[in-house]
């Protein structure tokens, strides 16, 4: 029973990202390297934010404080990834076999966003998943029985959001369109603040709006990447 829960939660959270990885990233070595570099970038940002949280001892129990710094550092490192990728674009093109690697400007944005998101989701969920295997029952002595499922659902939301945020972010800096960047930052804060409601088990109030934000963000990212309703329909037809 616990094993079933483990598999269902891990697939819920990581199923879509794994398929995205397998279909788009795993085939191209340069993308794999960028994805791991982005994961490392997220790790660095999380390390810095943990340092800040750890250092300010009296505020440790107020997670909101740590959370604000975590978001700030994440966005800073997202900007860092943007600078790194734009500067090394020429070099990447050289070492890649795939000569269209620079053709879609947001390709690297997508890959780095996926790396960011996967690392973020992994750090959030992997210990929870490990616990979900062990003997135990949720909600026996209080607390909700939906803990694992809601955590996994939020993790999926965050992974996908991170992917789209990177696309919008990179596109915003490329076009100097600061509205896009503002959207990324504001929606990031919004979703994270919403998740503060989770501790009070108000899951409907936190997960539903988060997914609505995900829908909107995915639409914006789609438009940033040059999509339209025509290309959307085309993507379902046979590949050329």
């Amino acid at each position: 029973m616990t094993l079933a829960e483990f598999f269902s939660c891990s697939l819920l959270a990581f199923g879509a990202p794994i398929v995205m990885f397998a279909m788009t990233v795993a085939t191209d070595p340069v993308r794999i390297i960028i994805m791991i570099a982005a994961a490392f970038g997220w790790l660095l940002s999380f390390l810095l934010s943990s340092l800040v949280w750890y250092a300010v001892v009296p505020l440790r129990s107020y997670l909101i404080f740590g959370m604000i710094f975590a978001i700030i550092f994440q966005e800073l490192f997202r900007y860092g990834m943007y600078l790194l990728l734009r500067k090394t674009e020429a070099g990447l093109k050289e070492i890649s076999e795939n000569h269209e690697i620079g053709s879609n400007k947001l390709e690297m944005a997508y890959v780095s966003g996926l790396g960011f998101g996967t690392m973020s989701g992994a750090f959030a969920l992997v210990n929870v998943l490990a616990d979900s295997i062990g003997p135990g029952t949720l909600g026996l002595s209080g607390g909700t029985e939906y803990f694992f499922v809601t955590s996994s659902a939020m993790t999926l939301c965050m992974i996908l959001l991170n992917t789209f945020w990177s696309i919008i972010f990179f596109s915003g800096f490329d076009e100097k369109n600061y509205l896009k960047i503002l959207w990324v930052i504001i929606s990031h804060f919004f979703v994270s603040f919403l998740s503060l409601l989770n501790s009070r088990e108000l899951y409907a109030a936190s997960i539903l709006p988060s997914y609505i934000v995900l829908m909107i963000t995915s639409y914006i990212a789609f438009r940033c990447a040059g999509g339209s309703s025509k290309t959307f329909i085309q993507s379902f037809s046979a590949r050329s």
Binding site: I32, S49, L63, A122, N127, T150, N198
Partner: protein, 468 residues
């Protein structure tokens, strides 16, 4: 053991562990063109490959002595080819390193035996049983110094043997050590796995399985066999050794050993009088591949000499020649040495398991192409010493033995990034580099940082279901 007959089709079988991966471009014309191209390329377009390695090597390679032909019209085809193996080779190393770490982490988390400390190696006499931190620290440092001395001694012994051309001794030692590893340690591993999962198995079945496993391993490692099989065996062997280290070294000693070995690696490979460097240069001078090596290679190694070191035999096996075999052979030597160390007193006695510490082979080779490459799209391979696999896996396995998966993940990503950076340096500097220092440094930093600072934050966030 080259492929006779149709070399164009020679993709399946590797001449294995003859450790010498041939020089990149036996084709002179090709090399010339590439030399020209290299001159016309700007610096930020360096390739990962090391065609320059050929020219730089002190060996007597005919290619190395090609006079540089003045620039001729650049052929885009060759340029692409030259640059092509950049990212692909990084991934070719990522995958086996990841697999090795996965095996170690899976074993540590499921089989309790490897996390339990009961007996220790003879090389670590200080068992860190005191409750005081300072005592543990000096215990750990003393243990790691002892291990380092043993390793340095073995290296010197190997160099002496190699310079005196006692190839038979080295070969014999190597074969003995891989025998022990494939049979004894695999038996212990299977036994512990069966115990952990409560699976009964009779000795006859076990003997049959183990015999086949071991013999196939010996054949595939020391002779010929399918490439994937060889790679799989090497990964498994590296994982086994890493597990031995994780089990038999006291806690703080493990971390101290990792740090000390990285520094030793740096010193031994890069300083002019460093033992590993001397070995490489000797191998280059003699222009021969040395022993069956314990290097993981991502591609088929064509020019394999037979085990006998006779230069004649070495040279004549494949037509195209191993011109300039240096670095490949050199590394091979190190890895052999690596094995040898391990073999010291491998027979376990009642109270102590005396397995020699593996010698870390820490050479990262620039990619070499098989010598016979009429087809321009031929794969070029990259090699990584098995010692590197082992120490990476020790770090990640030890991190996972504490139960926190965030730490394991952080160390894993840190090591991969370190490997990436090392390969980047390799592409820029184009000479054999130690693969341990950067990755282990990153791994250690992230291990301690994650364990002390990130883990509490991540746990607090996960408990409240706060998502950042």
């Amino acid at each position: 053991m080259s492929e006779s007959g149709s070399d164009l089709d020679a993709t399946e079988h590797t001449a294995l562990m003859d450790g010498h991966i041939a020089e990149a471009r036996p084709d002179r014309e090709l090399a010339e063109r590439i030399a020209r191209k290299r001159k016309t390329k700007s610096d930020n377009q360096r390739s990962y490959g090391s065609v320059e390695q050929i020219e730089g090597g002190p060996s007597g390679a005919s290619i190395a002595q090609q006079p540089r032909v003045p620039a001729a019209p650049v052929e885009p085809q060759i340029e692409e080819l030259e640059l092509k193996y950049g990212a692909r080779h990084v991934i070719k190393l990522f995958v086996p390193v990841t697999l090795c770490m996965l095996v170690v982490v899976a074993t540590i988390s499921s089989i309790n035996f490897y996390s339990v400390k009961d007996v220790y190696l003879a090389y670590t006499p200080f068992h860190e049983e005191s409750p005081y931190a300072s005592t543990k620290v000096w215990n750990a440092l003393a243990n790691s110094m002892i291990l380092l001395c043993v390793i340095a001694l073995m290296t010197v012994l190997l160099i002496v043997l190699y310079k005196k051309k006692c190839y038979k001794t080295i070969h014999g030692w190597l074969i003995l050590s891989s025998l022990i590893l494939l049979f004894l340690f695999s038996y212990l591993y299977i036994e512990e796995a069966l115990i952990a999962y409560n699976i009964p198995m009779d000795y006859i079945t076990l003997g049959f399985v183990l015999w086949n496993f071991g013999v196939m391993g010996m054949i595939v490692i020391h002779w010929k066999g399918p490439l994937r099989l060889q790679q799989a065996y090497l990964i498994f062997i590296a994982a086994l050794m890493a597990l031995v280290f994780i089990k038999y070294l006291p806690e703080w000693t493990t971390w101290a050993v990792l740090a000390v070995i990285s520094i030793w690696d740096l010193v031994a490979v890069l300083t002019p009088k460093g033992p590993l460097r001397i070995l490489v240069e000797t191998a280059q001078e003699r222009n021969e591949p040395i022993f069956p090596a314990l290097i993981y290679s991502s591609t088929v190694m064509y020019c394999m000499a037979a085990a006998s070191p006779a230069p004649g035999a070495a040279g004549t096996v494949e037509g195209e020649g191993r011109d300039g075999t240096e670095a490949g052979g050199g590394e091979a030597g190190f890895d052999a040495a690596w094995r040898e160390r391990r073999d010291e007193g491998a027979a376990p006695r009642r109270l102590r398991v005396d397995s020699a510490p593996p010698r870390y082979v820490t050479r990262l080779d620039p990619p070499h192409a098989p010598p016979h490459a009429p087809d321009l799209d031929e794969e070029k391979g990259v090699k990584l010493g098995l010692g590197d696999f082992i120490f990476y896996s020790v770090l990640v396995g030890k991190a996972s033995s504490y139960g926190d998966w965030n730490t394991t993940l952080a160390c894993f990503v840190a090591i991969l990034i370190g490997l990436c950076l090392t390969l980047l340096l390799l592409a820029i500097l184009k000479k054999a580099l130690p693969a341990l220092p950067i990755s282990i440094t990153f791994g250690l930093i992230f291990y301690f940082a994650t364990r002390s600072v990130v883990k509490p934050f991540a746990d607090a966030l996960a408990a409240e279901q706060v998502f950042i």
